[in-house]
Amino acid sequence: MPRVTAHDAPAPGRNAGTAGFGLDAAALHRLFPFHIVLDRALQVRQAGPVLRRILPALASPVRFPDHFAIRRPALALDFDSLAESSAIFLIEARARPELVLKGQILRCDADALVFVGSPWVTDLVALSRLGLTVSDFAIHDSIADFLVLVQAQKTALDDAGQLARQLGEARDAAIKASRVKSEFLANMSHELRTPLNAIIGFSEMLSAETLGPLPDHYRTYSQYIRTSGVMLLDLINDLLDLSRIEAGQYELEESDADVAPALAECLAIVTADAQRKGLTLSLDPGPPGLMVHVDLRAFKQVVLNLLSNAVKFTEAGSVMVTAALADGALVVTVVDTGIGIAPEVMPRLFEPFHQGHAGLSRKYGGSGLGLSICRNLVELHGGQITLASTPQMGTNVTVRLPPSRVLQRR
C-alpha cells in the first residue's frame, strides 16, 4: 500500500504537538486527488485518483517529463532541483494542455518527491471541459470556493451592466419626454400670448376711456383686467424663455452694447417699487466706456430680474447694482439688505419652479422661473452666476461674463 510519511517526522509520542503523521492510500487520495509521487529517475510512481481519471496513461509507470511540462518555475528538470525548489509549480499535462496543475513539490524521503496541488482554472467552464465536479476536489481545496466567488462577481457585473442599460434607457426616455414637454410649452406659450394681447390692448383702451367715459368702478375693473393680463404675460414670457432654452432653441442676438445705460435702464424700471418701500437704490457703472458683446435684451432681462428680486425681498435698507472689471471679466453685482436665503434652499434656487420655500411664493408671488432663466441666459453667454446670502442680512448675486465678451471704448 503506498504510504507517504513526512521524512523528518519525530518518533511517535515525542513532541506530539508538531509530530509528522502517516497517511494510508485512501486518506492520501481523498486529501490530494491530484497528487503525483516521483522517484529519483522522475518516474511517476503514484498519482491521485482524479488525475488518473483525466490522464489514464498514469495508471502504469511513466516518465514524468514525457507527460508533463513545467511551465513555472524555470529550473533544470532533475530530482535535486525539484526537491530543493520552494516555488509555486505550474505543471501542464502534455496530453491535455487545458489541464494546468498548481501546487508545490516536497521531498518525501531520500528517493521520492510528492507534488500536491490541484487544477488551476479561472472559470467553471474550464472545469466542465475537464469533466470535473465538486466532489473531485478535496474539501480543504479553496479552488471551488474561488470559482463560486468568481461566478458571483460575474453575475454581479452582468447585473450592473443590465441596470446601467436600463438606467440609460430611462434617462433617454426622460430626456425625450422633457424635450417634447418643452416643445409643447413653447408652442402653447405662443398660442397663449396671442389672445392676451387683445385682453391687454382692449383693457388699456377701456382704462384710458379712449371710446368715451366709463363709470368709476368699470374703469377700476378694466385696470384690474389690464394688470392681471400684464402679470400673466410676464409669466408666459418666462415660460416661453425657459422652454426655448430647454429645447435648445434660444438663439442669442448679439451686438456691442454699453453697460452703464443698460444698468440704468433696468434700475429705472424698479425705481417706483423701491420708492414705495422706502428703499435706497444706487448704481456704480464701473469704468467709463465699458462695453460688452451680448444679447442686450437677455443681458437686461438678467439684470432686471435680479433687481426685481432684490426689491421684492427687501423690506428696508438698500439695493445696489455695480459693474466692474476683474481679470478682464465683467462682474455685475446686485446687493440688497433683504430677507436673505436659508443655506438649505440655496442649491435649489437655480432650478426652475423653486422659490426659497412655498410660503414665499404665496407672499411675494412669482413663478420661481426667474433665476433659472437668468442662469441659463448667463451660461449661454459663457458666463457664470453665483449667489451669496445671509438670512435676515441680505443677498449678493454676481454675474460674471468672460473677458471675450468685454470691449472697452477708448
Binding site: 466542465s128 466567488l149 460575474k154 447585473d159
Partner: protein, 188 residues
C-alpha cells in the same frame, strides 16, 4: 434573501402569467421599487409577501406557488449565470443531491449573509433516497420539493417526491422520500 431569489419570483410570474399579474402582485406586496439587485440582501419579509400576494392574485395555495418556485429555481439559477456552478455540483441527480450541502456551504462563504438551507442525503438505494432538509426559515419545504422535481427534469430522470416527516408535525427538520428512475415512473 438575496435579490436573485426575488428576481426569480418576478421572472416566474411574468413568464407564466404576464407583466400585469406581476404588477398587481408587487403592488399587493408593497414592493415599490421593481428592480431587484441579484447580489444585494433583502429582508425575507419581501419574499414572503411576494409569495402571499402571488397566492392571492393567482388564486393558488401558497404551497403550490412555493413548489412551482422551487422547480423554476433550478432553471432560473442556471440561466442567471450559475449554470456552470450547477454542472460543477454534479451530473446526475444523486451526485447533485449529495453535493448540495457542500455547494450551499461554498456559496455561503461567498455570500456571508446568505443563511442557506442545509441538506443531507441518507438511505441511498438504486431507486430511492431520503433527503433531509434543514432551514432557518419556516414553511419552505415545498420549495425543496419543487427543486428536486426541477432537478429530475434537469437530469432527465423521473422523480417522485413525498414529504415523509415535516417540521409542521413537530420534527426538527423536513424529510423527503425521493424515488427516481423506474421506481418513480412506476409510482406515476
Amino acid at each position: 434573501m438575496y435579490g436573485l431569489i426575488n428576481k426569480a419570483v418576478h421572472d416566474l410570474v411574468v413568464s407564466k402569467f404576464g407583466e400585469a399579474a406581476w404588477t398587481e402582485i408587487a403592488r399587493k406586496a408593497g414592493v415599490t421599487d421593481p428592480t431587484f439587485i441579484s447580489m444585494e440582501k433583502y429582508p425575507d419579509e419581501v419574499t414572503y409577501k411576494l409569495v402571499g400576494a402571488a397566492s392571492e392574485v393567482l388564486k393558488a395555495p401558497a404551497e403550490q406557488i412555493l413548489e412551482a418556485f422551487g422547480e423554476y429555481w433550478t432553471v432560473y439559477s442556471a440561466e442567471a449565470g450559475f449554470g456552470h456552478l450547477l454542472e460543477f455540483a454534479g451530473n446526475n441527480l444523486v451526485d447533485f443531491l449529495r453535493n448540495l450541502d457542500n455547494m450551499h456551504t461554498r456559496v455561503a462563504l461567498t455570500f456571508p449573509k446568505l443563511e442557506p438551507p442545509s441538506f443531507r442525503v441518507t438511505d441511498i438505494t438504486d431507486s430511492s433516497l431520503r433527503l433531509h432538509y434543514y432551514s432557518k426559515r419556516p414553511g419552505l419545504a415545498p420549495v425543496a420539493k419543487g427543486m428536486v422535481v426541477g432537478l429530475g427534469k434537469r437530469f432527465n430522470t423521473p422523480v417522485s417526491v413525498t414529504l415523509d416527516r415535516s417540521r409542521a408535525d413537530g420534527h426538527d427538520h423536513d424529510e423527503f422520500i425521493v424515488l427516481y428512475g423506474d421506481a418513480a415512473r412506476d409510482r406515476a
